[in-house]
């Protein structure tokens, strides 16, 4: 398997007044192509900073970051924007959809910045929405959709540009448990198509669906374990059965 993400002694130091905050201390990490990784840790553990650096939103203070074999640790703002547009997909806790804008137009947005033209853009956006199961709600605005549906639109927006890495920051933080399962099932399905999925979460239940769980504390990786993930789809079906039985009783 090819190396998707290779971090070599990445450190990130923020200055807050006179105090230096070490958000990341010499983190080295390798993620293979198509891996499904969960990053866990308490707030302040550095997991968000790690995610921002892997997502090319931020640059490390020192160390080297190879994305698909290319060093992106020294790139400028414009080049990083291009890398994010072409190779990274983001999913946020609060969805971050443009309000008063249809699902289709929300999903078109990354393609618009990528310079994909007219018909091609609309076709790809429709495909992405169909892929997350919202083929029938393309013209709906965010305020006409449930939280789960909104997050699906966000996932469609993240994958419409065929990124190699999908970065999700607490993607189920604003969702109830069943909708969370739906979203995790969606991620697992995407993972099977070869996209590398990186989820930041503090919920062990959610991390259980990842093949690999990385624990962080005080800017360092404290554990890095691979295991057999639970199937979100199976859990979802189980939950549906329990729900219907309870309803019948």
């Amino acid at each position: 398997m090819a190396l998707q993400v290779a971090l070599d002694a990445i450190a990130k130091v923020y200055r807050m007044g006179d105090i230096e905050v070490h958000a990341l201390r010499e983190v080295s990490l390798e993620i293979q192509n198509g891996e499904f990784v969960a990053v866990m840790g308490t707030s302040g553990s550095g997991k968000s900073t790690l995610m921002n650096i892997i997502g090319c939103l931020d640059r490390p203070s020192s160390g080297r970051y190879l994305l698909n074999g290319h060093d992106v640790s020294e790139l400028g703002r414009n080049q990083l924007a291009e890398v994010r547009n072409q190779q990274i997909g983001f999913v946020f806790q609060s969805f971050n959809l443009l309000r008063r804008t249809s699902a289709l137009e929300n999903v078109e947005l990354p393609l618009l910045y990528g310079g994909v033209r007219g018909k091609d853009r609309v076709r790809r956006a429709r495909e992405a929405l169909a892929r997350v199961g919202l083929g029938d709600r393309m013209d709906h605005h965010p305020n006409q959709m449930s939280g789960g549906q909104q997050q699906r639109v966000a996932v469609a927006r993240a994958v419409v540009g065929n990124p190699s890495v999908l970065v999700a920051d607490e993607p189920t933080g604003n969702l109830d448990s069943r909708t969370s399962l739906e979203i995790m099932a969606l991620f697992q399905e995407l993972g099977r198509t070869g996209i590398t999925v990186l989820i930041v979460t503090h919920e062990p239940d959610i991390a259980a669906y990842a093949e690999r769980v990385i624990q962080m504390k005080d800017g360092r990786v404290t554990s890095d374990a691979r295991g057999t993930p639970r199937s979100a789809q199976t859990d979802l079906e189980h939950e549906l059965q329990v729900g219907s039985t309870a309803g019948a009783a």
Partner: protein, 409 residues
């Protein structure tokens, strides 16, 4: 990203907030509308002034007699008669730049019809006088040279005089009026001419042959003209050339030595009209600059709303950056938004300005004059306002850090 896509993104963003977008443009709408309406008002006023000067007669020069000077105290213009009937004939016949010339003698007199009477101004002149004043005859006909030669007691009535003596819309032709107890036959009714630039009623007067005037109304000096000479310059040569010719001729005829003062006066109505036009031009400029200030205020309104918009949409900006918008894409988007607001405001302002100008032109009875250059400048200026005042908020947006922006609450 292509300009078309930037425009699309900006337009979508503006349409998401229709009411706010409209209110933001309102400043520009009013500014541009005010500039256009004010300039139209100024131009209308100017046209009115020009029209009233034109009704005095175009290319008009007035030659007056000299003034008396006794012990250092000067009398007024024309207080010492110096223009002779021979001077008039010489001006008529010898000067290439002169088209028409006629004497104008003037006196106030009571004019009496069978039932009514009216005090008015009596002008003694020749048929050319009507050409000089560009004045037509509404009913009847003007008197002729033979009336001048024979000293006929005929009179042309101004509309006001006719209205006073015979009532509005009456036909006075063939009636007899008495002026200073002498009976005059009404042969013509003059066209209505309106007011002079100073507000005097041109139609409150009558015209009689100048020979009759000298014999019956004002005991005349035989050799001198007890009044002024009205001259129309040729279109081709203009008033300046005609004035120079008249001055040279009269100085020569009056044997005035080089260096000595003229014993006559020359007044050029074209110059007066130009000076008056200058006055209204100044007024137009003043009105337009006051209106331009409101454009500036409109621009500040746009900046204000754009700044609010950038702050309010910080998360949106962060999201756009996260999914691949470059700083220059964000800059372009907000600039285009500001530009679209101001240009849309400019276009609405033109519509408003035209509407206001039309309403005012209608209510003042002025001609509706629109200057395309002003319309273009107003639009260009509003676009400039959009870019100028949009630049700072747009730059502020483009410099945001995507992580901070995404975390912004």
């Amino acid at each position: 990203m292509s300009p078309l896509q930037t425009t699309r993104i900006a337009t979508l963003a503006l349409l998401r907030n229709k009411l706010r977008s409209f209110l933001t443009t309102l400043g520009i709408v009013i500014g541009v509308g005010a500039v256009i309406a004010m300039v139209a008002i100024g131009e209308g006023a100017k046209a009115m002034v020009e029209q009233s000067f034109a009704s005095m007669g175009s290319n008009l020069i007035i030659v007056t007699s000299g003034s008396t000077s006794r012990g250092g105290a000067f009398g007024g213009s024309g207080s010492m008669p110096s223009l002779t009937w021979d001077d008039l004939r010489a001006i008529q016949n010898e000067l290439s730049a002169v088209r028409y010339a006629a004497a104008q003698l003037r006196s106030n007199a009571q004019i009496v019809s069978e039932d009514e009477n009216w005090s008015t101004q009596v002008i003694g002149s020749a048929p050319e006088y009507l050409q000089i004043r560009d004045w037509g005859v509404a009913r009847g006909a003007a008197f002729t040279q033979s009336d001048i030669d024979g000293g006929s007691k005929v009179v042309l009535l101004g509309q006001t005089v006719s209205d006073k003596l015979y009532g509005a819309d009456a036909d006075p032709i063939g009636q007899t009026v008495r002026i200073r107890n002498a009976p005059f036959l009404v042969v013509g009714l003059l066209d209505r001419k309106g007011q002079s630039p100073m507000g005097q009623d041109y139609d409150d007067m009558v015209i009689v042959p100048h020979t009759t005037f000298a014999a019956k109304i004002q005991g005349g000096l035989h050799q001198f003209i007890a009044g002024v000479i009205y001259v129309t310059a040729n279109e081709r040569d203009g008033t300046a050339r005609a004035q120079a010719q008249i001055r040279e001729l009269l100085r020569d005829r009056h044997r005035i030595e080089i260096g000595a003062d003229d014993d006559f006066g020359l007044r050029d109505m074209t110059e007066m009209a130009a000076a008056s036009a200058q006055g209204t031009e100044t007024l137009t400029t003043l009105l337009a600059s006051v209106a331009a200030v409101s454009l500036l205020v409109g621009g500040i309104g746009i900046m204000n709303i754009m700044l609010v918009s950038v702050t309010e949409r910080t998360r949106e900006i962060g999201l756009r950056m996260a999914i691949g918008a470059k700083p220059r894409d964000i800059l372009a988007q907000f600039l285009v938004e500001a530009l679209a607001l101001s240009v849309a405001g400019g276009l609405l302002g033109i519509a408003l300005g035209l509407f206001a100008a039309r309403r005012m032109a209608d209510s003042f009875g002025w001609p509706l004059l629109l200057r395309t250059d002003v319309v273009m400048i107003a639009v260009a200026f509003s676009a400039l306002v959009g870019i100028g005042f949009g630049l700072y908020p747009a730059r502020k947006a483009s410099l945001l850090d995507p992580i901070d922006a995404l975390r912004y609450e």
